[in-house]
């Protein structure tokens, strides 16, 4: 168990995922004393990597977006002077969609992607141009006008071809765990522009290089990182935060507490029902989490001919009805829904992802091996012929595994489900109106992925700096 060096800090941050790390770096950069803790033995949250038998696997997050000039991820990393600490390369194409009728590539340039889509859907050529133009040319605040719509509503404004709509939705479904008829247009549009049209970035080494570099920078800036350090309680008094309590009753005082972890856990367990007002409790009690994910990790003996390009996400769409896919995912019928597979940039490992429901440990123990084998068989049949001859290491993560490593409610892969009617509430980030307490990360707003949570981390740091009258 990590033990903090001091008993009092300006700010303590719970959770060393990308949002907590980013927030910590910006606060430490302004001279605040910051303690950042994580229950896991390595930083990163959903953005970690692990090693087995000489193979390095990205545990969940496997690439990121928004790294173009002016993109949020680039702005955050540049503001933290990370240039010498991490090398980031873009793998192109970032995404390829395989459907019963088409193989469609999302290229790194917008124009080339538009041309590709127009070639397959000539009747929708002008609509494709208008749709992608709207998403890429809009100012950030223009997206606000999408807040009540679903992504399907948005697609319906532009297109009549249901196959095209599904092709423009599969990666949104994969990255948001909701079909277009349920996911908010705001989130769908953001996933499409930030993950797909500006996706495919990868740090040299593995995804772990990103949190490691942020952790190194955080410590250089004077921050203190404690891993394997579980926070048991957030202490409050007279509606103000006072600090946290760790295992074995270790008490740490702090003026600010940033919860960069599961929001339900923060409200119900770390704060407790007595501390949070009942209106907020009800509001959070009613929120529905996103689905979880079943992840396949394969180590291969050598590169072989049928492998896809390294660093490209291949999306397999077995049919065009994504509502049907969502219902199957909720019921755990993983073998009948679309999935994503990718060869790692080092060409040594293959990752497979499929949306999956949270179920008991026993449920997954019974089914894990069978799901793993059927997933491998599908990939071999549909994307990578001869795959099974080259596998030298295989394992899988179930929603229970995600829960165990991140303590995210119901193993949710993307925080709360991003329905239009859910989440656009200031209640989460305003931390139940307890002075000095802030929540950040993918449980607090309709923004997702590494750039989304990094942006929220920066934003939370700015709120605190503002309270401290630090002007920068």
């Amino acid at each position: 168990m990590g033990v903090p060096l001091k008993s009092c800090y300006d700010a303590v941050i719970i959770g060393a995922g990308i949002s907590g790390l980013t927030c910590g770096c910006f606060l430490a950069k302004e001279g605040m004393s910051v303690l950042l803790m994580d229950q896991h033995h390595r930083p990163g949250g959903c953005c970690t990597s692990f090693s087995r038998n000489g193979y390095t696997f990205d545990a969940a997050a496997h690439s990121f977006g928004s790294y173009r000039e002016g993109g949020n991820m680039r702005l955050v990393l540049e503001a933290l002077d990370m240039a010498g600490k991490i090398e980031i390369r873009r793998f192109t194409p970032s995404d390829i969609i395989l459907s019963p009728d088409y193989q469609i590539t999302f290229w790194s340039g917008k124009d080339k992607t538009v041309q590709e889509l127009q070639q397959f859907f000539p009747d929708e050529a002008d609509n494709i141009l208008r749709f992608i133009g709207r998403l890429t040319d809009s100012k950030p605040l223009d997206f606000v006008a999408l807040r009540s719509m679903t992504y399907k509503d948005l697609l319906d404004l532009y297109f009549t071809d249901d196959k095209l709509k599904a092709i423009l939705s599969i990666a949104v479904f994969g990255n948001g765990a909701l079909p277009p008829s349920l996911i908010s247009a705001f989130t769908g549009a953001k996933i499409f522009t930030e993950f797909i049209l500006d996706g495919g970035y990868y740090p040299d080494g593995s995804m772990q290089a990103l949190p490691d570099a942020l952790a190194e920078r955080f410590e250089e800036l004077g921050g203190e990182l404690q891993l394997s350090c579980l926070v048991k309680k957030i202490r409050t008094d007279a509606n103000s935060v006072r600090g946290v309590v760790l295992e074995k009753g270790v008490s740490i005082r702090a003026k600010y507490v940033v919860a960069s972890c599961d929001a339900r856990q923060t409200i119900f367990k770390l704060l407790g029902r007595k501390v949070v007002n009942s209106e907020v409790l009800h509001e959070i009690d009613d929120l529905i989490p996103s689905l979880s994910t079943f992840i396949l990790y394969l180590g291969i003996d050598r590169p072989f001919k049928s492998l896809p390009k390294p660093g490209t996400n291949i999306w397999f769409l077995p049919y065009y009805d994504l509502d049907k896919g969502y219902e199957a995912a909720k019921k755990g019928r993983l073998e009948s829904i679309g999935y994503m597979v990718r060869l790692s940039p080092d060409c040594r490992t293959i990752l497979g992802f499929v949306n999956a429901p949270f179920r008991s440990r026993l449920y997954w123990e019974k089914r894990k091996a069978a799901h793993m084998e059927s997933f491998i068989a599908r990939i071999e049949e549909q994307i990578i012929p001869g795959l099974s001859e080259h596998i030298v290491h295989k394992e899988a993560a179930t929603p229970q595994t995600l829960y165990r490593y991140t303590l995210n409610y119901r193993g949710a892969a993307y925080g709360w489900a991003t329905f239009p009617g859910q989440l656009f509430t200031p209640v989460l980030r305003q931390a139940a109106h307890i002075k000095g307490l802030h929540l950040t990360g993918h449980w607090t707003a309709q923004t997702q992925g590494i750039p989304g949570v990094a942006y929220l981390g920066l934003n939370t740091a700015k709120l605190i700096m503002h309270r401290e009258k630090i002007v920068n």
């Binding site: 605040l141 006008a145 807040r147 200031p426 309270r467």
Partner: protein, 85 residues
């Protein structure tokens, strides 16, 4: 009523933006002065709708640049609510 609407709206903007109420003027620029982004703009709209029990048209939100415009919009909505056509 006008003054309390203004106070309530400034209080909501303060909560979401992190700026103190006395730093927010009715002619502050939401983006340039108060660092408004799309998420905060929606959070403010949702909080206002909840507080005043009105609905704000989605397409109106991106046109808003100052708290003054929000106040006008809310006051208009409240007046319409009182005098149903």
């Amino acid at each position: 009523m006008a003054e309390s609407v203004e106070n309530e709206i400034i209080s909501i903007i303060a909560d979401v933006s992190g700026y103190d109420e006395d730093e927010i003027r009715i002619d502050s620029h939401l983006v340039n002065d108060l660092e408004m982004d799309s998420i905060k703009a929606i959070e403010i709209a949702v909080a206002i709708e909840k507080k005043f029990k009105i609905s704000i048209r989605d397409e109106d939100i991106p046109q808003i640049t100052m708290p003054e415009q929000i106040i006008t919009l809310v006051e208009t909505a409240l007046t319409q609510k009182k005098e149903p056509r």
